[in-house]
Symmetry: D4
């Protein structure tokens, strides 16, 4: 049972996830790490979300980064999205993550900024503990 | 039983869908029209896809336009995506639709170009009939 | 004593704030509303933050939208940023809000999307109540 | 007689074509490969299109990527366009390929995403075989 | 027999062509005006180019503006391209026109700037007359 | 007591500051150099500004570059901002620095252009000496 | 003999100049107003600069906004540039004004932000008076 | 006495000029090569233009690329502009060159595309010789 679920859309995003893990470890926040593509493993993602005990998601994805939004559509827990840079410098992932329709919010942080995803999760958890 | 399924992510995209319907009607292609948000109605979307007899999808969405990609992840039929313009001129929806990860293709047409979604569907159906 | 502090950088952003207030009201979340420019009223902003009992901030700003980041630098509570569109379609405010340096996170939502700022705040507060 | 015609606008796009060939080979789809510039070899392109037995085109081009659109204007078969990245990160080719006028559709996939061009062709051919 | 051929890709570009005609008239330069889509009327365009007595082309087009490039690929006369603005503010047409491959040059002027297309044609014709 | 205060938002911006120092040295303009993050050290920044004897600030920052604007909001001396490039090529820092609200001006120079920040400071100081 | 010279590149930029004049008037700063295009009236611009008694220039221009840079290349006084929005939302003018080569600095303010040009001029003049 | 004047705004643009020289040499077109900054050497540029016997200019520049426009404002010969890429991928130079005001045309070619500048000059000279 972890405080935070970190999910990457692709194994190639692991370096961004590592930044988040390091910050969470320093603050003694536990995490569970998964690589699940919203587009290629939708059933696995559904199953994970249904049984997930964590209070917060950090979803890391590049390109057409649907992962954070799909998670947000299937849970009412806070979802933090991290856009990953690529050929278009991460602008594609940034817009895909931040421009969510009304009612399905994602908390977007900066391009490749796994650190701030963790820092934001820590602020949210701290509020919950007070 | 329709040839083409037209799905809008929001009722506000109806004008773009109308362009596609008109072209399909002119070519005597039958269609089924739905408004289902990938983000707000994921279960309804899943159910529709499982029972959908159409051979092709036209998915129309703005903002973080996950609809075409989510459909493409749950069917192996061709999916045509139409980005809808908004505050960012449709650049957000265009990048969200076209920049799909490997293995989950979406056939993206131009911003607000419901006509070409229909014309592309017609070309695909014509190939199937030959 | 309110659950959420909504701060606009300019009185002209009030329409975006109204969207957030409406959603919060529907969920019986209390809010305090302020118009304080990070650039023009830095001392007033400091004073407000020091005495603010709310658990979460929603900061709404256009142009070089420093407001969410400045608040995040002076509190360890979660800060949600809403970019407001203008001549550059909100791309300036979006990048100003989301591209924060490591250690000072802001949870950015979509351009002009006051609704999702409220929905995100509700998810965070719900986590805190569990 | 091949199932798919793969045409590059320049020999320098061969690496993107290779990605498509590999996927098609894995699915036992036959292909014919050509390097024909729409701008430098218009007559050769015309001649190829007139005699082409393939059911689908994959057209790969960078810069002002007219190739997919020119092919689509001379055939009524489905044309899949792949934008190739360069100094402007492929944004030029992406917009050139996707923003086609009404009546001349191109199915655009992601920047440098030769894989998805093949996957889309496979979906279209599968529909044709059912 | 006209000095300059003005070709629009769509009848909706006529207002931009009118700006060019007015400047040419003021300088007593004769012009021939056509509306021919590179994508929808490729054969008509070919026939026109083969018999065109004008020394210079002004090609006006929006979206994926292939017209100037296609003309430049079929003549060795100077071709001036004018990008026309639309949903993406003309950025699509601008990049489509200016980013031509080596060996097929187009002289691009500003977005919607039919005036400067005429002024540029006048400079070129003046050089020819000296 | 220096003529110009050079402040970097991060130690990683030092190379841009070095360009400015070199030009100022060549013109025998004295400078004081500090690394103070507007987001991470707001109190240190406040204290520095209150006691700063320099007539001009050069503020160098990347990402969501709030530093120049925050300084401009706490002094009525001229503030020159230098955007630093990163994953988004400096477009984020450029828009964050230049799009200031009315009444809080920042003099923005080009991306990574520490030289011109110094040259601009020299012009301003020369005016003051006349 | 005015404190500040305000020069517009086109009469159509007058509304932006009016914002600057109003602020300068409120601060009892005198100004001289001219409409001189860097591209269409280069000799008039040269003559004006040679005889200009003002200490600071405010140069306002849209499109390929060469005016501020050309002035900066012919004087060693501070030049403030104001980009004016148009079809491309002012991004063209912003980049033209801010991205100056080393040694020829322009102090760029925000798009259409005539107010901040005046406020910046006031800060510079105040420094000169101390 | 050369057919074409090639002017670079900076010695660092020489590689782009070399591409143009090579093409011109192959077509036995003579050229004169200069490095003159519009911003740093305005008087040298003026003097060169006044005495220039060439019929066409090729002006190569990066950043805020005023060079082609300034030349076009001081001659009525055709001026071809080549944007040079840098931190912003050449988008700054492209917009600075192509978005000229009415009456002062520049013939813009693609980013870093010295080849096409030469090819365009050859087309213009060929017209002049017929």
């Amino acid at each position: 049972m972890a405080d935070v679920s970190i999910i990457c859309g692709s194994a190639s995003d692991a370096a961004i996830a590592d930044k988040a893990k390091k910050i969470l470890d320093e603050h003694k926040i536990t995490w569970d790490y998964q690589v699940i593509s919203a587009h290629r493993d939708p059933d696995k993602l559904d199953a994970y979300i249904k049984n997930c005990p964590s209070g917060i998601y950090i979803a890391i994805a590049g390109l057409s980064a649907a992962l954070p939004g799909v998670i947000a559509s299937k849970t009412d827990k806070p979802v933090i999205g991290v856009p990953v840079s690529g050929t278009l410098n991460g602008l594609d992932a940034l817009l895909s993550i931040v421009q969510m329709p009304k009612g399905v919010p994602v908390a977007c942080v900066g391009v490749d900024n796994g650190d701030n995803a963790a820092h934001l999760a820590i602020r949210i958890l701290k509020l919950a503990k007070n």
